[in-house]
């Protein structure tokens, strides 16, 4: 049976900072659910409340029929948790770490080997190396093996891909997709916006608030306005020049292009920008209408909702 989660009106403050401001959302059985947002969004705090490590000031969370406060023992048995700074024992070898975690849950490495096989085989050649000397990508795979060794039905991964290179990140997501097929409900947080597209549904978070909760596709569909990707030979002055065009939208850098957000007719705006840049003697001008990605949506939400941090403090 897969695990579902019901989060209702969770509030959590640390001294002066309100880390979570009335968070409510539900997670469906067997969902691969992403919490997307920068540091300080509240992702780790929410995960720590979910796993019973800290208590919320207000609100309730149910994992299946269990309450996270009253029934934390039952919940622990079915939950695999991988904290942001991997909690591995640096002086133990790869294999020793894994056996240690297995024993904590009264199981053995052999008993559930089937579940960790895909992940563990990638690090097995180094099983006699101390965890402390592994590269970031390998530590991440070992930490995942340890979180899986007791065959959890709920897997909570706090920024498993942060600081990890693009390749290892890609492989890690492929592993998560495989895990999901084993009827595990997976919660994963990440600051990399482009990883949102790999989840079934995501919550975009910022400063303790949910900006939106939906499928990545729907979030993109709901984007208000159009985006034109603008490129020319001189990218640095281009941004300042584009900012002088009267528009109610935003202009910002995005990889090798600038994104120009407009609520006007995109074809007309495309012509307007092109002739404006030709007049300014730019060369190799390219103005293309593109489909927004999650980071565009996140920026749009931020512009709508963010007040300055110092103002908020007062």
């Amino acid at each position: 049976m897969s695990v579902s989660i019901n989060i209702k009106n969770i509030v959590k403050s640390y001294e002066e900072v309100e880390a979570l401001k009335d968070i409510s959302l539900s997670i469906k059985p067997n969902e691969l659910f992403g919490f997307i947002g920068p540091d300080g969004a509240g992702k780790t705090t929410l995960f720590r409340i979910l796993t019973g490590l800290i208590l919320a000031n207000r609100g309730t969370i149910n994992i299946n029929q269990w309450d996270v406060v009253k029934n934390y023992k039952q919940i622990r048995k079915i939950t695999g948790y991988m904290p942001g700074r991997f909690s591995l024992y640096m002086d133990l070898t790869v294999e020793e770490n894994l056996r240690f975690y297995a024993r904590l849950f009264n199981t053995s490495m052999e008993e559930n080997y089937d579940l960790i096989k895909d992940v563990y085989e990638q690090i097995a050649p180094f099983k006699n190396r101390r965890a402390g000397v592994l590269s970031g990508g390998m530590k991440q795979k070992l930490a995942l093996s340890c979180a899986l060794i007791h065959k959890p039905r709920l897997l909570i991964l706090d920024e498993p891909t942060t600081g990890v290179d693009v390749i290892s990140r890609k492989e890690f997501w492929e592993l998560l997709k495989k895990m999901q097929k084993r009827e595990i409900t997976i919660l994963v947080s990440t600051p990399y916006m482009n990883e949102a597209a790999l989840c079934d549904r995501v919550a975009l978070m910022q400063s303790g608030k949910l900006l939106t909760v939906d499928t990545p596709q729907q979030i993109v569909n709901d984007f208000e306005g159009h985006i034109l990707a603008v490129k020319a030979d001189q990218m640095y002055p281009l941004l300042n020049d584009l900012l002088t065009i009267k528009t109610n939208g935003q202009v910002y850098r995005f990889g090798e292009t600038l994104h120009f957000v407009t609520s006007a007719n995109p074809t007309k705006m495309q012509e307007k920008i092109t002739s404006f840049l030709e007049e300014k003697k730019y060369r190799n001008i390219s103005v293309e209408k593109i489909i927004p990605v999650i980071e565009d949506c996140f920026l749009a939400f931020m512009n709508k909702t963010t007040t300055s941090w110092t103002k908020e403090k007062k």
Partner: protein, 238 residues
């Protein structure tokens, strides 16, 4: 060929740790005012190279000149000519913003007047004058990183090394941070930056991609098509 003055010159750089070759015969130049992206998978050997360029590690062999200084002969002199910031260590949390500026200014041997003038200059520019007496630990990450960048610039270094400066920072602040990088580069400061955000690699003038201790590709992002090249190069390792 780039006509600008060379600010970093690396020729046949090798660094071994026992039998392990972390840097295997690297040769590259970086120019004054350039924004140079230093990319590669975890474990490719990037950190070793950065430590050598900052005068913190001695090369096993090879020639390295940073801001005109021979790193083998005068590693201490290099430290005065460079600035450094990374995600995990940049400033002290239990000092105020102003105290951090004063502390770093002191380390770099600036006089009191310069420290106070430059602190005011940067705080004004960042619009953070109102928080100068706040403890650093009470300030959000994105703000801290902008402050850290200014502190690393305080002694007007020739080169500034940024090791994953925007990791975990929100998308708006990330872009503001890059505006600061462009401005520094416009003023002639060379920026040497590592990142795991591929869109940021595109913001660099040139990038190098490292794998297994070697530089496997080097060029302008648009010529390299970095996303594909990075995947190809790093995949071969596994």
């Amino acid at each position: 060929m780039d006509k600008r003055e060379k600010i970093i010159e690396v020729e046949n750089l090798v660094k071994r740790f026992g039998a392990f070759v972390a840097n295997n015969n690297l040769t590259f130049d970086i120019y004054k005012g350039e924004i140079f992206g230093f990319l590669g998978a975890n474990g490719a050997g990037k950190t070793t190279t950065i430590k050598i360029l900052c005068g913190l590690l001695k090369p096993t062999s090879g020639k390295v000149r940073v801001a005109g200084v021979d790193i083998n002969k005068h590693p201490e002199d290099v430290k005065k000519r460079i600035g450094y910031m990374c995600q995990f260590f940049s400033m002290y949390n239990d000092m105020t913003v102003k105290e951090n500026f004063r502390f770093y200014g002191g380390i770099y041997g600036l006089n009191k007047k310069d420290i106070s003038d430059r602190t005011n200059f940067y705080l004004d520019k960042l619009n953070m004058k109102s928080i100068e007496n706040m403890l650093l630990k009470n300030i959000p990450l994105g703000w801290k990183q902008k402050l850290a960048f200014s502190v690393a610039n305080l002694h007007h270094p020739d080169i500034i090394f940024l090791d994953e400066p925007t990791s975990g920072v929100d998308p708006i602040t990330r872009r503001q941070f890059w505006e600061m990088i462009y401005e520094a580069s416009d003023n002639g400061t060379t920026v040497f930056v590592t990142t795991h955000y591929m869109d940021e690699a595109e913001y660099c003038e040139r990038v190098s991609i490292m794998s297994e201790g070697k530089i496997k590709a080097l060029g302008r992002p648009r010529d390299l098509n970095i996303n594909d090249v990075f995947l190809k190069i790093a995949r071969n390792v596994e």
